[in-house]
Symmetry: C2
Subunit: 408 residues, 2 copies
């Protein structure tokens, strides 16, 4: 007997028929003798509709009221799934965030989880009851509903698995696992059987939209074994585990790309201490997230060029912030380019294996693709290229690192 947390996303509970199918999937685990908690999202589309209404009612809405509105989506699906389970003879009840309670801090709209009281839930496990838990929501110190931010149901599931000391946290989604890259642009992409938390974290934050980044970080922190698998196809998915559980280590595990990038270059920035601090401090104050940063060595000892990337959505705001700084910093000009894409190769193997970056640069050079910015971490090399070359670059790298399905 194992204790399992299962999580189903919005498309998996998108209508009544799908909710019934989820109930059948849950029943199989129950019939196998497992203790089961199921975390569900709102029906696909519901949360977007609710968020849209909030925006239409008030441009600067109260995050506490926003949480009240958007948390209603999961309330519908937990009730319906509990009914569907009872309908096929499975003892089940729904749990809303405030009922558990699923305690969070008071940062409405993107609350962080504080403490989850699983006492009652565990007691009911022993009576054979399945817990159907509303994802994405909790209760703050002010006794009001909080939400964890978009995609927060993954985090709910992992946090609940940690609190329950569950043997496994199965994330059911509309793909059947984590792939070496997006199968939609590389037909030879392979499903990864096992991936480390660190790799998953890099892939998740680099644009592979399978798991929410925060949930992976939390799984790593608490050692929760996460499995990503399909709620529509019945086959094993991808297991996210500790590095020592990976049997056969590849140098590069996956390739992620993020088209949602824009490049900004400040030309002729005075080369003196405090300038970078002023620039990135102002951007940060305006909630602009800066990703890759490159500063060249000053040629003349007086000025330098500073290049960095922001998300598309932040480009206008960033430009506005920088223009306001022009008087103070006396830089030359702002050059921005929204037509860029970040490509990242990720793998824990590259810690011990040199030459990964070299392969990347050579492969791209052979295809005539210009690298605009480079950034690296211990288990990742990222480059910025013109977005027209995205597919070409990802396919070439996928082959170069021996990831193609027929290369096995």
């Amino acid at each position: 007997m194992a204790r399992i947390v299962m999580k189903f996303g919005g498309t998996s509970v998108g209508d009544v028929e799908r909710i019934k199918r989820v109930a059948q999937r849950v029943k199989r685990e129950v019939d196998a003798g497992h203790e089961v908690a199921v975390v569900v999202s709102a029906m696909a589309g519901t949360t977007n509709q609710l968020v849209k209404w909030c925006g239409e009612v008030s441009r600067l809405y109260d995050a506490r009221e926003y949480d009240v509105v958007v948390a209603s989506g999961e309330q519908v699906t937990v009730g319906l799934l509990a009914m569907a389970l009872q309908d096929i003879g499975v003892n089940a009840r729904s749990w809303l965030g405030w009922q558990i309670p699923f305690g969070t801090d008071g940062i409405h709209g993107k609350a962080r989880i504080a403490e989850i009281d699983t006492t009652e839930m565990v007691k009911r496990f022993s009576q054979g009851q399945v817990a159907v838990v509303a994802g994405f929501q909790g209760i703050g110190p002010d006794a009001r509903i909080t939400t964890l931010g978009r995609g927060g149901s993954d985090t709910s599931a992992v946090a609940l698995a940690a609190a329950l000391r569950a043997d496994r946290c199965d994330i059911y989604t509309d793909v059947d696992g984590v792939y070496t890259t997006n199968p939609r642009i590389v037909s030879k992409a392979r499903k990864i059987e096992r991936i480390t938390y660190e790799e998953m974290l890099e892939l998740a934050s680099q644009g592979a939209k399978v798991l929410e980044t925060r949930s992976v970080a939390m799984a790593m922190q608490h050692g929760v074994r996460v499995q990503v698998l399909s709620s529509f196809v019945d086959m094993p998915g991808t297991l996210v585990v500790d590095e020592d559980e990976i049997v056969e280590q590849q140098v590069v595990t996956g390739i992620a790309y993020s088209p949602d990038e824009a490049k900004i270059t400040l030309v002729g920035v005075p080369d003196r201490p405090g300038v970078a601090g002023a620039i990135f401090g102002s951007l940060s104050d305006s909630a602009v997230n800066v990703d890759m940063i490159v500063q060249n060595v000053s040629q003349d000892g007086k000025t330098t060029d500073l290049t960095f990337t922001v998300s598309h959505a932040d480009l206008d705001r960033a430009t506005h912030v920088l223009e306001k700084l022009k008087g103070e910093l006396a830089y030359g000009e702002i050059v921005s380019d929204p037509n860029v894409c970040k490509i990242s190769v990720v793998g824990v193997g590259m810690r011990s294996q040199p030459g990964v970056a070299k392969t990347m640069f050579q492969t791209l050079a052979e295809k005539g693709i210009n690298i605009q910015v480079i950034s690296t971490s211990e288990i990742k090399v990222s480059v910025l290229i013109g977005s027209d070359y995205t597919e070409l670059a990802v396919r070439a790298l996928h082959t170069a690192y021996g990831l193609d399905a027929d290369a096995e």
Copy 2:
């Protein structure tokens, strides 16, 4: 300064624009210096959709889970209305049933209100805050969400008004008050300025769908001054008050009709003690609501005919129950007729004024309308007629009792 409870139904909060209009309406009361609690329903259509999903998931659903699902509708509207109020500078916060707490018994799906704790709400009134309260929902002794049954938001509003000792409970709806009869079939119908609780109760339960019956009974019990008025047109509505507040009493205040009736006659029922008990006991056990009952004096001392009405929805079930009793009771046959309509004339004035029934019977006779069943109470006379004659009868009676608009 007064303390006011305002209630807005589903059509009044049917979309974002209407919610904003409601906020403006609330602001006027706030600007006038009043303490305000606003009770809202779910957006029109939402509750029906949620109920439909429940039925699709499971035919015999758990009422506790049903409550979780359907209570989500009001959660959306309270959040949005609180935002809309804040957006126009009105201090406001939303309250869900469990947050107040709005205590009920544990009869999920049609809970009865137990106790409402208004301490915190009243404290916030004194700080100028408007309470935006989710109608229809409460919390049961099991710390789970309960709902009050369809139309329960009216009851929520009246109960809250009673708990708050509010000066007034204004029920905003899509009509501008209570009419002497349905203006859609009698163009000369007049809006009633003041009506007694008793009359409103009879009209509400006799098919005038303006106020939920239970809310009127509760208002009467606690002496809550209820006003029914339009959320779209800015004019005084109908005040529901104690009899001693009615200045000019009419003999008949209003005429209601209920087309949702079916007549059943049991022919040749043995005329002995216990037979009626057996019949109506069995119907009650099967949750069939019986309304008008007529039993004639036995002609031969051995058998009699028994006629009564049930709602259309219950006709098949009632017939089924009666057929099972045939062996035991040995009655002749069952004759049923779904094409009947109940017409009721209502008025507290008829207590002191004889002849109301006579006027009714004469008026109908003049039009050649046959009366099938008669039933009376202290302030009401009801007759059952063929449904084809509904409009004709209502119009004729409206004129006969001097209710026509141009008769003033």
